[in-house]
């Protein structure tokens, strides 16, 4: 009843765990096969140690993080972690990060040779060649990245948009023009905090990424607006912590949702969300999510 289909791939339900917030470590708490899908942490070509100093800072209704894409590199991910994850009957989406187009391309070439069915391209990473500004800010730069990546990518490609984009509609449009098969939005918002005792920013990097329920009104608005102008599947992300949040995104036009920070509140929060959606559908006599997808747009 709750199942959805994207790129011909069936998801048991529309609930996917968001990149960087969910790993195999959660298997202690429930069977990961119950999930619609799992997004891997952000994979880069080479191993990354991540950022120094404080990495997590709680804020009102959410948190700032400055993990800095810590990951073992795509090769070690494929050899060490993927086999374990593949034991579960759920859709794996590989989230790919990088600082240059070449890095993205090389990472994706390696993922082409795996059974992972879908790639999610994280264009929020700082882009070293263009002076450190993220690829995801200016749509023209994003267009170039997506076009080049698309040339090598043998799997359906979801582009994950940053809410810091100058113009989210133009960004979404250009990514689709460049060949994106789907869009997911949003990544974290640029934010910061200051430690007034030390009189310094909390994070070594000053700027960190804001996520959690605090951002939901903004990210929901972005999903709503973007879903009106593109024809590809959209995955809604941002502050989802219960089934009502998930349904808001679906009614705004999302085909599926990703749950990020919510996992930190309760390890099996995704199960609660899946069950909640199911109960809502039963109560409201909804046979398929298609009936309510984007219904708030009309």
């Amino acid at each position: 009843m709750t199942s959805v289909e994207m790129f011909g791939i069936k998801f048991k339900n529309p609930v996917i765990t968001a990149s960087g917030t969910f790993t195999i470590d959660y298997e202690d708490f429930f069977s990961l096969s119950k999930l619609g899908g799992i997004c891997t942490k952000g994979l880069t070509l080479n191993e990354k140690e991540g950022n120094s100093g404080v990495r997590i800072h709680e804020t009102m209704g959410g948190l700032l993080n400055s993990i800095g894409l810590q990951n073992p590199g795509v090769d070690r991910y494929i050899s060490e972690e993927l086999p374990h994850m593949e034991k579960y009957d759920t859709v794996i989406i590989a989230n790919v990060g990088g600082s240059t187009i070449e890095e993205y391309v090389k990472t994706i070439e390696k993922l082409n040779n795996t059974n992972i069915p879908i790639i999610e391209l994280n264009i929020s990473c700082p882009n070293v060649k263009e002076g450190g500004m993220a690829f995801g800010i200016k749509s023209d730069i994003a267009f170039k990245v997506v076009r080049e990546v698309k040339k090598v990518c043998k799997k359906p490609l979801i582009v994950k948009l940053s809410p810091n984009a100058e113009n989210i509609l133009d960004m979404a449009y250009k990514c689709c023009e460049a060949g994106a098969d789907g869009l997911s939005l949003v990544n974290t918002f640029s934010g910061m905090a200051i430690d007034i005792k030390n009189r310094k920013p909390v994070f070594d990097n000053t700027i960190a990424g804001l996520s959690g329920p605090c951002i939901k009104p903004i990210s929901l608005r972005m999903v709503y607006e973007v879903s009106r102008i593109v024809n590809v599947p959209i995955i809604g992300i941002g502050g989802i912590v219960d089934y009502k949040d998930a349904l808001e995104y679906i009614m705004a036009g999302a085909l599926a949702v990703q749950v990020g920070s919510g996992n930190f509140m309760k390890p099996d929060i995704c199960l609660d969300i899946i069950n909640g959606i199911e109960e809502f559908m039963e109560k409201e006599n909804i046979k398929s999510l298609e009936e309510i997808r984007g219904i708030a747009r009309r």
Binding site: G20, Y26, G50, R55, I56, G61, Q70, N263, F264, P267
Partner: protein, 244 residues
């Protein structure tokens, strides 16, 4: 012992001293010394759960010893008998319990919390070094395995007037365990290294998930990047690099 989600019902929650509280919960608990639970007694705000070390487990009774620092611990301090908390645990890797010989335990302030359970669980002879700011607390619960109890206070009100590391000598011990403020643990590490005594350090870092997923608690060790919540909180002394 797989961690799990469970509930705990407050049996007692009493002020020990100033900002220090002891809370006892009933429920179905397990865990080793050095392991911890993620706790929450609220809905969505504050957003994150709070990590507290196991201070003792006896039957279905779990004890936490905690210091009120901010929002979360303040809420804990107001819980009353009968209130229910959500717990996740036991989490992390605790202290090794299979060492032979005499053991030295060095704890500072609220860092004594996991050491109480450690002392109760070890079968060895233990010397306990407790460093406190104003006054020692909770030392009556330390159990009969403790042979000698050394106390220091910054205030000089009880015990040695100064840092506990001033009076700590590891030479007699086959192994040393420590938990407390970073500067104290850094000093303990230097002292143990000098005398070539093996050391275990219980680290602390702000946590989001507590289960190894978010990488928020990563620290750089001599054996690579490690997660305090899953690979620790207890690490071998030589793995830890203290800065300044």
């Amino acid at each position: 012992m797989k961690p799990k989600q469970c509930n705990g019902k407050v049996v007692s929650n009493i002020k020990i001293l100033d900002n220090i509280y002891e809370m006892k919960l009933t429920g179905d608990f397990q865990g080793n010394p050095g392991q911890f639970y993620m706790l929450r007694s609220w809905g969505k705000e504050p957003f994150l759960s709070r990590p507290l070390s196991i201070c003792n487990i006896e039957g279905n009774l779990l004890t936490f010893l905690y210091e009120v620092k901010g929002k979360g611990t303040d809420i804990f301090s107001k819980l009353r008998e009968g209130d229910v908390l959500n717990l996740l645990g036991p989490l992390g890797t605790g202290f090794p319990l299979n060492n032979k010989g005499k053991i030295g335990v060095v704890a500072g302030g609220i860092g004594i919390a996991p050491m109480i359970y450690l002392c109760k669980s070890l079968k060895n002879d233990i010397d306990f070094y407790g460093g406190f700011r104003e006054k020692p607390f909770y030392m009556d619960t330390i159990g009969k395995n403790v042979n000698k109890l050394y106390i220091s206070t910054d205030s000089g009100k009880e015990g040695y007037n100064g840092f506990i590391t001033d009076i700590f000598n590891p030479e007699e011990y086959s192994v040393v365990y420590t938990c407390g403020p970073m500067p104290m643990m850094s000093k303990v590490k230097n002292i143990c290294e000098e005398k070539n005594v093996p050391l275990y350090i219980s680290m602390e870092k702000r946590m989001a998930c507590g289960v190894g997923a978010c990488l928020g608690c990563s620290i750089k060790t001599t054996s690579g990047i490690r997660r305090v919540c899953k690979d620790g909180p207890v690490f071998r002394g030589e793995e830890i690099v203290f800065h300044d």
